[in-house]
Amino acid sequence: MPPSQRFAQFKLVLLGESAVGKSSVVHRFVKNTFDNMRESTIGAAFLTQSVTLPEINATVKFEIWDTAGQERYKSLAPMYYRNAHAALCVYDITNSSSFQKAQNWIKELKKQASEGIVICLVGNKADLEDERQVDANAVTAYVEELSGEGIQVFTEECSAKSGEGVLEIFTNVAKALPVEETINGASKPSAGRQSGVELNRRPQQQGCC
């Protein structure tokens, strides 16, 4: 990785029903491990990890907020998605109600979150094909419907367990983010946090990941 100044940081939040595997997806991305025996998340957990985009010779660092899924804690979510540049709305492909919940999150984000937030609809537990309840065609149809309403959401399936598709999700999110603009400082990223300013404050971090 070239030791360039081409570095940008973005805030990403994970939302979705309890036990769909949000924490597992994050841990696969951050530590490349899967642990069946993970403690449940309460409040929100904070982690960071970077991806490189060789095409544009840049490193994108994610600050990740992994939230708790219990309905009771729903009202806390705005605390965490406020100022977020990207959101993963996660459902479990073996649980159709979790897909409904993910759709609700998309709706809420569109209403409440920063304009221009990059949203990815993530179907996790793709390794459990036999137990699938959420049909891929239904997902595509839903995304097209959103597109008709002028809402751009992209969708992807993955398995935190096997690792398949996880890195792709984060790479695709990174590609969809205004990386160039942030680096050049020409315009701030869509959301509130001033990543350009941040950059000047942490030269030691560049190229470290």
Binding site: S18, R38, S40, G43, A44, S75, M79
Partner: protein, 618 residues
């Protein structure tokens, strides 16, 4: 069919828990007059006839249980002999002899221990005794006798007397499945032991509970049953300084006082022991003084709790004596913040200080557990039950009591956790289950495994009812309280933090750190995550129980943790590192005493600020 010979031979038994539906439990003879009155008035609307009828029903029921159980085993036995005769051509006598051999060498206990030793991937400690079943059953016959568990100085001191006084908190004796199944059902060596309820009933009342092993029997775990890395002590769970009790050395005395490892442990723990004795002496002096005064002042009253809920009895005492300085309540608070409650007496103190001894209605817990089973599909409760099930295997997965990593089966406390949470949902359907409760109950369950499941339940209920902050009369975990807790974080971050630690506040503000993101997690989990050293969390609860205002205490503790890291935090130059530092491992090397003293100091200041603010508003 289950292939495990022990299981198929001795069966999963035939218990039908619904038979215990409204049972009063098996220890009515030990209740205080007060408890009996309470039960009669609450459960039977004051009608003693109904109470007597229930007692008699219980007895009949128990007889029936025993008959059924005997019948079951007899039938199994007959079938077994028949199978042996037809398939192996063995006579009764031969079978008996073979069975005797098995029971000598291969008790269920040994099988379990072997399984655990495999789980640990290391042999069991050579000092661990492998004794024939008779010894196990004499352990079993041991009464809920705390004496054996407390140190020499406690033995002589006040604490012991108080602990042994009749009171509500009940300990269960070390129970073991082998005693039930190995045929040696009559406890031996019970000279001066009070009556024990029939073992069948005890085991039947708690389906799913297998042996609760003492952690000292496991080589690769810490005293609370957390698996330690590489068989060595896990630094994460090491006590943070010398001022606290060494839980290991005090617990180790429970197991085998005559064990040869005891001598070694004694040596290792000598430094701690000296300190421990000094601390216990201080406790004894204090408690003796209080008792003497109380006895002088309350001669006519029959039942007066020594400390009472939140130690409010001491407040009464202070008023009677009208001390201004160095009041008894203050002295207790200071003892607790400096030293914590001595682990051997902790459960007892908790039970009284939390108010659990007041709200506990004997037998009510069993009824709630049954109700939870009956209403498993109740639309108003099902969401809670489902969430509990989702969280059970995600609660303390690294603790052998909750999860057996070899078999991947749930450990014994897993089942207790489920029953307690389910019962709570039934008791408080307005609150339901909230994520985070699992961690609190989990911590309470491993605090002192001699405390019964029922009492752990009431302790949990009283923490929520009496101890944790309430908002407009709604309890901490009520749906409506969440926004108040959130507001408390904002206030904490923007008012108290800014005023009490202005330099650090300015620094964090400049880094764009959202302090409430950090503290919110701590609060929702009642600090179980950030204080993930068990001993530290127990110290937190000790202090919370005697705090003047629990919200101030939680605020002070939050600030105290920041204060502890002030230097380090001031050296960080971006918010990522701050969030990472203040995550769950932050208290790894924290000194308990130091943290508690900072916290107490901050608590005083916060209390004063609140008061001043109140005045200004008047």
């Amino acid at each position: 069919m289950n292939k495990d010979p022990h299981k198929s031979l001795f069966g999963d038994s035939i218990h039908n828990p619904s038979q215990l539906n409204h049972s009063l439990g098996s220890d009515v003879h030990e209740w205080s007059d007060e408890t009996i009155e309470k039960v009669v008035s609450i459960r039977f609307g004051g009608d003693y006839n109904l109470f007597i009828r229930q007692l008699s029903r219980d007895i009949t029921q128990k007889e029936q249980d025993i008959i059924l159980l005997r019948d079951f085993y007899l039938r199994r036995e007959r079938q077994f002999y028949k199978v042996c005769a037809s398939h192996a051509n063995l006579t009764h006598l031969e079978v008996d002899k073979l069975l005797d051999d098995i029971q000598q060498k291969d008790t269920v206990d040994d099988v379990l221990l072997d399984m655990i030793s495999v789980a640990m991937k290391e042999p069991l400690a050579p000092t661990l005794k492998r004794e024939p079943p008779t010894t196990i059953s004499s352990n079993l016959a041991q009464q809920p006798d705390i004496e054996a568990h407390s140190s020499e100085s406690e033995r002589r001191g006040w604490l012991r007397g108080w602990i042994q006084s009749p009171n509500d908190l009940r300990y269960e004796w070390v129970r073991s499945t082998s005693s039930l199944h190995s045929g040696s059902r009559t406890p031996k060596g019970t000279e001066d032991a009070p009556i024990v309820p029939p073992l069948e009933l005890v085991s039947m009342s708690q389906p799913g509970d297998s042996t609760i092993l003492d952690p000292e029997e496991l080589t690769n775990t810490d005293p609370y049953g957390f698996i330690t890395e590489n068989g060595s002590e896990n630094p994460k769970r090491q006590p943070g300084d010398g001022s606290n009790f060494d839980a290991r050395s005090s617990v180790s005395q429970v197991v085998n006082p005559i064990d040869s490892s005891y001598a070694t442990l004694q040596e290792v723990g000598r430094r701690h022991d000296d300190e421990k004795q000094a601390i216990e002496a201080r406790w004894n002096t204090f408690c003796n003084e209080v008792m003497k005064l109380r006895n002088e002042r309350n001669q006519e009253e029959t039942f007066v709790p020594t400390f009472g809920l939140k130690a409010l009895e001491l407040k009464t005492l202070d008023r009677q004596i009208s001390f201004k300085e160095d009041s008894y309540l203050k002295r207790l608070q200071s003892l607790i913040s400096k030293q914590g409650i001595p682990p051997g007496s902790r459960s007892k103190f908790w039970f009284e200080l939390s108010g659990a001894s007041n709200i506990r209605v004997p037998g009510e817990y069993n009824r709630l557990v049954e109700l939870a089973k009956m209403h498993a599909n109740d639309p108003s409760l099902i969401q809670s039950f489902n969430q509990i099930d989702l969280d059970l295997h995600r609660t303390m997965p690294s603790n052998v009591y909750f999860h057996n990593s070899t078999t991947s089966l749930p450990g014994p406390l897993h089942h207790r956790l489920k029953r307690i949470l389910d019962a709570f949902v039934v008791l408080r359907s307005d609150i339901g289950y909230v994520q985070g409760m699992n961690k609190i109950v989990g911590n309470l369950l491993i605090a002192d495994k001699r405390v019964t499941e029922e009492d752990t339940f009431w302790l949990f209920v009283s923490l929520i009812d009496e101890i944790l902050p309430t908002y407009h009369g709604e309890s901490y975990f009520s749906p409506s309280s969440l926004k108040h807790i959130r507001n408390a974080q904002t206030e904490l971050a923007q008012v108290q933090f800014a005023l009490l630690m202005p330099k650090l506040y300015a620094h964090l503000k400049q880094l764009d750190v959202q302090i409430e993101f950090i503290t919110m997690n701590w609060w929702l989990l009642v600090f179980t995550d950030i204080c993930n050293l068990m001993e530290l969390w127990y110290r937190v609860i000790d202090n919370l129980l005697v705090s003047d205002k629990s919200e101030d205490f939680l605020k002070a503790l939050s600030l105290g943790i920041f204060k502890h890291y002030e230097k380090k935090l001031l050296s960080l130059d971006n918010y990522d590192d701050v969030y990472v530092l203040m995550n769950r491992n932050a208290t790894r090397n924290i000194g308990f005493r130091e943290l508690m003293e900072i916290t107490r100091e901050l608590e005083r200041k916060i209390g004063k600020m609140e008061k001043d603010r109140g005045k200004r508003w008047e």
